[in-house]
């Protein structure tokens, strides 16, 4: 899923300061599962904003902000009508016209989708971090996929070195393995100790009797598949 963390309140208040009325739109997807932007967090955000003196005129929930609707479906509608169309459990329905901006509690994809169909500014309540999973044991979220466009998990024991090795190495561990841990995660600017992905890959392949996979020289990553501004046509493998 998409891992997010709410921005600090001071930053959100600063962003919202030019606008007299604000509508909040949460998301029922990853941010709801990870409790950073679901229905409950959206209501809590409204309370905090009101306490800070922000005029929250409405709040609602999009099922998934990463999919809202086609642009043609909202052509000719006002912003208030568009928000009504994509948000359920809407509170402050009648006040919606007063919204001068929308605060989205979705990830960066959701914010952009909402911004795409609204004329008024849509502002992000989250910092979007990465694609990964929640580890309850240890209480952290772990990055697992970088969307590099050329999946190599078949020969790395289902553990991605592109996302989970600090250097995205293709051909085995570097010299920075400290008791099985990545030395980069021990550095003073890192939050958590993280195991060396290549040692994990080695152990997994060993267990599967597939260490020979490590002996093959893997070619340089083709970054034409990972360069930004990617757009993929349906049915085309590129």
């Amino acid at each position: 899923m998409i891992i997010t963390r709410q921005k600090p309140m001071e930053e959100i208040l600063e962003m919202l300061s030019p606008y007299r009325g604000v509508a909040l739109v949460g998301c029922g997807g990853c941010v709801a599962f990870y409790r950073t932007g679901g229905a409950k967090q959206t209501r809590e955000m409204a309370e905090k904003l009101r306490e800070a003196g922000v005029s929250v005129v409405a709040l609602g929930m999009a099922n998934r902000q990463c999919y809202l609707c086609e642009e043609s479906e909202v052509a000719g509608l006002s912003d208030a009508e568009r928000i009504r169309k994509v948000a359920r459990e809407l509170e402050g329905f009648a006040q919606l016209e007063k919204a001068e901006a929308v605060l989205s509690l979705a990830c960066g994809v959701g914010v952009q989708n909402l911004a795409n169909i609204l004329d008024i500014p849509v502002l992000p309540a989250q910092n979007t971090l990465f694609m990964g999973r929640r580890r309850v044991e240890g209480d952290f979220d772990l990055e697992q996929c970088l969307g590099c466009g050329d999946c190599i998990l078949a020969f790395t024991g289902g553990i991605c070195p592109i996302a989970r090795c600090a250097k995205s190495l293709m051909n085995g561990p570097c010299g920075g393995v400290f008791n099985g841990m990545c030395e980069v995660s021990k550095s003073r600017v890192s939050e958590h100790p993280v195991p060396c992905a290549w040692i994990e890959i080695y152990r997994k392949l060993k267990k599967q009797g597939r260490v020979q996979e490590l002996r093959k020289i893997r070619p340089p990553k083709d970054f034409t598949r990972a360069a930004h501004m990617r757009k993929v046509a349906w049915g085309v493998q590129k």
Binding site: A166, K167, S168, L169, M170, N171, G172, P173, C174, G175, G176, V177, F178, N179, G180, E183, V184, S187, R188, V189, S190, W198, I199, Y202, V211, L214, R215, I217, P219, P220, K221, F223
Partner: protein
């Protein structure tokens, strides 16, 4: 018959015990700091490595000290890391270095920027050390990564690094095998203080046809030893060395003695040479070698 371009490779092929040194580029544009290290090393080593911004701290680049050294008559081993340069810059730099007379290149992955004094920098790592090794060989064979022919290919010998004290060791050995397959002609290792590590390295690499130069650096104090243990992966320091440092009445003398014993051990285990990293004790390198009795 294999073509030989450098004195360093000539020495290795001759079967003579070969000693390489290391020059640390200064933080600023102080040419004299390079010259002084060269002056101390020149008579004692065949060639010396020039590091490429170790741990990602900003210091003088690799190429300038390499050129200065060679002007002064000491052959350079140019360390190239994948940290700051993509495949375009790496190839371009090596071609330029070869035009300036560099004949040995050590291909390394490089430390992550988060370890150094510019942790905010964008890490590159477009290639890794295995792939860089293969690219260097391809350049030498007269072709760049785009397949374009080079009429004047860089005439360089290719070295690689090795961290023999890491646990588990098998993936590190597998990576060395890949580097040999990719074209590595010599290897230099991370610092070794423990003869057990030398012994294991010698056993675990016996099947590989590549000269390995174990890395030796003087231990200057108990503080330095403790720092290395806590911060450098794969370092082990035997209790007996710690005691020697603790009981020392002259740390310089003790550091020289310890280094000399390790250099002697390297030869005893049958390695073809040693890579000496003076870590500031450049003036004593001659004494370390003399006391080791390897010559």
């Amino acid at each position: 018959m294999k073509e030989v371009y450098s004195n360093f490779m000539r020495s290795l092929l001759s079967g003579k015990f070969t000693i390489s040194g290391e020059v640390d580029p200064p933080r600023d544009a102080n040419r004299a700091a390079v010259e002084e290290q060269v002056r101390h090393l020149k008579e004692h080593v065949v060639a010396a490595n020039v590091t490429d911004n170790p741990i990602g701290d900003v210091i003088m680049n690799t190429l300038a000290p390499c050129v200065i050294m060679q002007e002064l008559g000491l052959e350079a081993i140019y360390q190239a890391t994948c940290r700051d340069r993509n495949r375009i810059a790496l190839q371009s730099d090596i071609i330029g270095a070869a035009a300036l007379g560099i004949k040995n290149v050590l291909a390394l992955t490089g430390d992550h920027p988060k370890m150094g004094n510019h942790p905010q920098a964008k890490p590159v790592f477009d290639l890794d050390s295995v792939l860089l090794t293969r690219v260097l060989r391809r350049l030498r064979e007269g072709e760049n990564m785009a397949g374009e022919k080079l009429e004047h290919p860089p005439r360089i010998h290719i070295g690689v690094g090795l961290s023999p004290g890491v646990e588990p060791l098998e993936p590190e050995i597998i990576k060395l095998e890949k580097k040999v397959e990719a074209g590595a002609e010599f290897a230099q290792t991370q610092c070794i203080y423990d003869e057990k590590v030398l012994e294991r390295l010698s056993e675990e690499t016996a099947h590989l046809d590549i000269p390995i130069l174990p890395g030796i650096a003087p231990l200057r104090s108990v503080g330095m030893a403790k720092f290395m243990l806590a911060n450098v992966p794969g370092i082990s320091i035997p209790e007996e060395l710690m005691k020697k440092l603790e009981n020392s009445s002259n740390l310089t003398e003790t550091a020289i003695d310890i280094a000399a014993e390790l250099i002697a051990a390297v030869k005893d285990y049958g390695f073809p040479g040693v890579h000496l990293m003076p870590v500031g004790m450049d003036a004593h390198v001659g004494e370390m070698i003399a006391r080791s009795g390897v010559r």
